[in-house]
Subunit: 148 residues, 2 copies
């Protein structure tokens, strides 16, 4: 029998620490970056404000869990990448188009997507999570280059 431990989860206290705030600030300053855990580690290392790698992983996990940040596999295979999902940049509302060739990420803020979501909801009974979804393909430039 499966038991959902929702209540335990809710009861757990979250202490607010210097490291957590530094990480949140980092994402707020760089709202569009896609970074690896190691890149974040190096960033703080270089800025003189060192944060342990394990802590970065643990903080990122929490942020992914709470929906603040999304995690996805990079194309180059350098490990997982993290990106902010933030109301202020609209990344929780719009879609992301990622070029599989050059790696560019296009933030697609477009009312058509409302229609898209409505269609999927009504016809496929599925609630799309914009923040977690990345649409892969070729950007205009790479598409043109590929055709030559």
């Amino acid at each position: 029998m499966e038991v959902r431990l929702v209540e335990n989860k809710e009861c757990k206290k979250n202490y607010r620490t210097r490291q957590q705030e530094a990480l949140e600030k980092y994402f707020r300053i760089n709202p569009d970056v896609c970074v690896t855990a190691d890149e974040i580690y190096m960033y703080f290392m270089n800025s003189g404000d060192k944060i342990g790698k394990a802590t970065i992983y643990r903080c990122l996990d929490r942020m992914v869990e709470s929906g603040e940040v999304k995690k996805f596999l990079s194309d180059g295979g350098e490990g997982a990448m993290y990106q902010l999902i933030d109301g202020s940049n609209g990344c929780d509302r719009h879609f992301h188009l990622k070029c599989t060739r050059c790696g560019a990420v296009i933030h697609m803020d477009c009312e058509f997507m409302d229609e898209f979501e409505r269609h999927i909801m009504e016809h496929h009974h599925f609630r799309v999570d914009n923040g977690r979804t990345i649409i892969y393909g070729l950007c205009g430039e790479c598409s043109a280059n590929a055709e030559k």
Copy 2:
């Protein structure tokens, strides 16, 4: 200066081996599964037809490269997952909706998606790769459970 080794790539001979055929057969028998390299390894191990892990990775790489199979990060974090993109099941044409809660994958074969692609092409100059794209969210059942 970068040089594209397209011709070398084309010239390279591809030998057809027992292992490659076994892997292709596996995917053809289980067209909808999302599996890790290790699960495939164990599958062949248990069926008495052992294939080396390195070989499985190398075969999968080739299949991803050629577009037969897609690779993506699992939600559970057990490593990369692989799934067939096959003309016979239409997975190269339709979208996949993946429930982030129960893991169900819905194959969305729907003419609305033509419109979706056309919109993204015309308004955002981006050519969507259906096979590589996975749309995350909540399936009807999990969505209903989440609301209670």
